[in-house]
């Protein structure tokens, strides 16, 4: 036998030798400097071949070496040849080898697995060089997989093993986080955290720029909306995509939706379905092909985006379903903006550098996640193509609040008469051909609304409190098309061909409430119904809570800001709480000391709310402030039944933005606690282990 004996090499002598195993084996030890198993001391006798035990084939073998060894007892002794039986006997007899005998001098004795275990025995007794110790450690790692601690693997998931412990701690951590995060949905007593501001902070010029850019879109403007995110960021970016889409639809602009992620396309379809569902009560529908296009999926990552950049006409030719879009667009430069929703800051940089330069006239508006904020901010500051930036769920909240205050709270649009009988309802039908008759049961879906010829103005002049001071888009590149201001849009003179059409909606109210009628119209003779109503205006400088009942123990339905106005529909016994109308079929309660009571006409009340054409403003008002966009999807192919709508209304009641944001904050707090506790335990454990090791 060679002096330069290789243990593993010898172990395979009686195996069929394949060229693969041969070449691989040679390579193994020539390339792994630290695991050469050759004895360093020349002249030592070699170990015998490993027993067959160690050479089982995979299909019959247990999964790890430690399991393999633990099963050794099951192997009948008579299967072993005489020499091995003898060896075994000798190894059992003397667990302590002579103290002066080194590892490789174990003279034909097969080391029993017990002997390889730490804590005395053979290994503890022999004098080994450092290199040999390393080899022994390695062998221990391989053979003794069940040793506690971070071994390189092989720990079998038995009771008390690290894996079982890990599973238990994982479960406890998960339950703790979920429990804390669900508390705000159970009771409002857990609302500890302040909500994000209702407007972008002054220093957030980039966020305001984005808002203004979308707010100043003109009807028939086209823009690219790229959804470059997956499920991991969907929780944050879906609501932002929803808001941006509503904002765009509300201006009458046409988004061309594109993605290099097929799931994101499915998400976009879901979001638009949600929008349609929410505006269904206003008999509105946005339709693919007319109001938006979902373009074909872009395969190939960076190369696919290059195709988009350089050959946009070809990309825009087909929709995601393979149908021809009929779009006549030569390049990205024909678009007003590119709105990019990206999961990571790097994606924004990539778009700014690789996609946008081809159409340098088209600014990029970026929306990203909270985690990507620092880098995205730096890119937004340094890359001139980026004209606006929003990030994270806090911005989503502020964005939503801005839209709410700009376009008003949910107007009293009826669900369906079958759901909410309204005995005291009066309605003033208006002479408008395209307006559905409010006394009749509205059809579940009307044909597609044609935006352009039926632009409607409900209000003439927004009040100061309801319209934020919108600054003009400050970062638009020089030579841009003149963007019309809000006032321009509101001016009927600027909208030739527009017909004045009025909408009448019926407010369903409890019998105690004064009957109300909404009526608004535009230039050719407004036909407002004059009826005084009681209104409360929020005067508290803080955000105030609107609750389900007249006590602070009741759940929060909404939050309101100073200046928000609500119609009063009742009061509690001592007058300390007002019952107010939030939306059809949904009333809330607000504490009397937080509000000031006003009396005004219906028209005056409405004038503070909307400044957009009514049909489009509905898109914003009906934003579902709470649900992630993977909510129930009853309306896959069929129009909704009244029961569906009712159920949706119920869901809207349950999930409100306040509890959701509170839950996120509480979840973050729980996560922080878990992380601190877990690391404390592990850190102390590591210190103790180290101290123990140095003491030994």
């Amino acid at each position: 036998m060679s002096e330069d004996f290789n243990w593993l090499e010898e172990a395979r002598h009686d195996e069929p030798q394949t060229p693969v195993a041969e070449s691989g084996r040679r390579r193994l030890f020539s390339r792994l400097p630290r695991i050469s198993l050759r004895p360093r001391r020349p002249g030592l006798p070699a170990l015998p071949p490993l027993p067959r035990l160690f050479r089982r084939q995979r299909d019959e073998a247990p999964s790890s070496a430690s399991q393999l060894i633990s099963e050794r007892e099951e192997r009948p002794l008579e299967e072993l040849d005489e020499r091995l039986r003898d060896l075994r006997q000798r190894s059992l007899q003397g667990s302590e080898p002579p103290a002066d005998q080194p590892l490789y001098n174990v003279d034909e004795v097969l080391v029993s697995p017990e002997a390889l275990n730490p804590g005395g025995g053979l290994i503890g007794a022999v004098a080994l060089s450092k290199a040999q110790e390393e080899q022994v450690e390695l062998l221990r790692d391989i053979v003794d997989g069940a040793t506690p601690g971070p071994s390189p693997g092989g720990a079998s998931p038995g009771r008390g093993s690290p894996v079982a412990l890990t599973t238990a701690t994982r479960l406890v951590a998960a339950v703790f986080v979920l429990l804390l995060a669900s508390l705000p949905f159970v009771s409002s007593d857990f609302d500890f955290f302040p909500l994000p501001p209702a407007d972008f902070e002054a220093r957030r010029g980039d966020a305001r720029s984005l808002y203004n850019a979308l707010d100043n879109l003109r009807p028939d403007d086209r823009l690219l909306l790229a959804l470059e995110y997956g499920a991991t960021a969907a929780g944050e970016l879906d609501p932002l995509a929803d808001l941006a889409l509503r904002h765009i639809f509300a201006q009458g602009a046409q988004p061309l939706i594109v993605s290099s992620n097929p799931i994101a396309i499915a998400r976009a379809e879901n979001i638009i379905r949600e929008i349609n569902r929410s505006v269904m009560r206003a008999n509105l529908v946005v339709e693919a092909g007319a109001h938006y296009h979902i373009l074909r999926y872009l395969p190939g990552g960076a190369l696919g985006l290059r195709e988009l950049s350089e050959n946009f006409a070809a990309v825009a030719r087909y929709s995601s379903s393979g149908a021809e879009t009929g779009l006549d667009i030569a390049s990205l430069a024909d678009l007003q903006y590119i709105v990019l929703l990206a999961e990571s800051a790097e994606t924004i940089r990539f778009w700014a550098e690789q996609v946008v330069p081809e159409s340098a006239e088209t600014p990029l508006l970026a929306i990203t996640s909270y985690a990507a904020e620092p880098l995205a901010q730096a890119y937004a500051e340094s890359l001139p193509q980026i004209a606006g930036l929003l990030h994270g769920y806090r911005d989503a909240f502020s964005y939503g609040e801005m839209l709410k205050s700009a376009y008003g709270m949910a107007p009293p649009i009826p669900l369906t008469p079958t759901l909410e009988p309204a005995p005291n309802t009066t309605a003033t039908p208006l002479p408008a051909s395209s307006t559905p008759d409010p006394t009749a049961t509205p059809a579940p879906i009307t044909p597609t609304l044609d935006w352009t010829p039926t632009l409607i103005h409900i209000t003439v002049q927004p009040t100061a409190t309801a319209t934020p001071d919108l600054q003009r888009l400050s970062t638009a590149p020089p030579g841009e098309r003149a963007t019309p201001s809000r006032e321009d849009l509101d001016d009927p003179a600027n909208q030739p061909g527009e017909q004045a059409v009025a909408v009448a909606t019926v407010m369903a109210q409890p019998t105690s409430a004064p009957a109300a009628t909404i009526a608004a119209s535009d230039t050719p003779g407004p036909t407002a119904t004059v009826a005084s109503i009681r209104v409360v205006e929020v005067i508290s400088p803080q955000q105030v809570r609107i609750r389900r009942g007249p006590t602070t123990a009741d759940d929060i339905l909404r939050l309101a800001q100073a200046g928000d106005r609500f119609e009063v529909v009742g009061a509690n016994g001592d007058g300390s709480w007002h019952q107010i109308a939030l939306e059809p079929g949904l009333n809330g309660w607000i504490a009397q000391f937080l509000v000031e009571e006003l009396v005004m006409t219906e028209a005056e009340f409405r004038s503070g709310s909307a400044s957009l054409p009514a049909e489009r403003a509905v898109l914003l008002r009906e934003y579902d402030w709470s649900l992630g966009k993977t909510g129930p999807r009853y309306y896959q192919a069929q129009p909704p039944s009244p029961a569906d709508l009712h159920e949706f209304a119920q869901l809207r009641d349950r999930h409100q933005e306040g509890p959701r944001l509170q839950a996120m904050s509480l979840g973050a707090l729980a996560a922080a606690l878990v992380i601190v506790l877990g690391n404390l335990v592990h850190g102390v454990g590591a210190l103790l282990r180290r101290r123990g090791a140095s003491a030994r």
């Binding site: 691989g24 390339r31 999964s63 391989i142 053979v143 894996v163 997956g230 499920a231 991991t232």
Partner: protein, 268 residues
Amino acid sequence: MDQTTVQVFSVLFVMATVVLLYTARFFERRRRQRAQRQMAALERLPAWTSQSIESSRPLHLSLGASAVGGEDTPSALAGAEFFYHLIQSGAAGDQAPTISTSSPTSVPLAQDTARRAWEGDSLLSARWYPPGLAFAGGLSAAMAEDEAAAQILAGKLGPELALILDGADRGGSLAVSDQLEGQAVAFAMADETLIGEELYAAAGYVSDEASASRVAVVIDVWRGLLIIGLTLALLLAYAGILPWLSWQLLLAAVVAATVLGLILARRS
């Protein structure tokens, strides 16, 4: 900087790198030893490889979403090269390693890497799963079923890495990503982590093949120069000299950098 300056600078930079790639080879051949740092993260690889052999459990390697034909082509190639040497060292085991990817263009690369290094029946080696969380989900299930001895993930990996690593508790794990999110997750959850450019240099550290190790040398050289350059630029900016920086000056800087690089490569 105008476009011309950028172009000139890019070409010079590329040429300097090419020169370095060839000259590093020269030094390698002459000195027969590598000028490399220690990478502690790679020291456990031999143990994992041995474990894979001894326990008949496959090694699992993953390129993530690195795609051939995109901006992350070099990541895919570097990952494949790293895996080639790892598989070679573990070729004595009876379980073919698996290389997973979520980019279909990387499937041939994975298959080719496994075939070259393993030389056995590697039909099951290259595996594609759809991108995103589906990749993490599919992979975790398959790896649990295969009882992978260790997971080595190198490529374009995002936060989905957490799901994969969470399921990798029974074996060792090494992860490195060219994405910041993935890198952070790797640091928190993998047993061992490489950072940033170490993904591209890793192959040079696990093999003694000159062509692999000179990439590591050149990256080290450029990195050293970059640090010096950034520090100098900072000082120049403070001194108010930076506005005069023209492409001629940059040219001089690149030439100086190349010379410095050559000296550094020889000394290291």
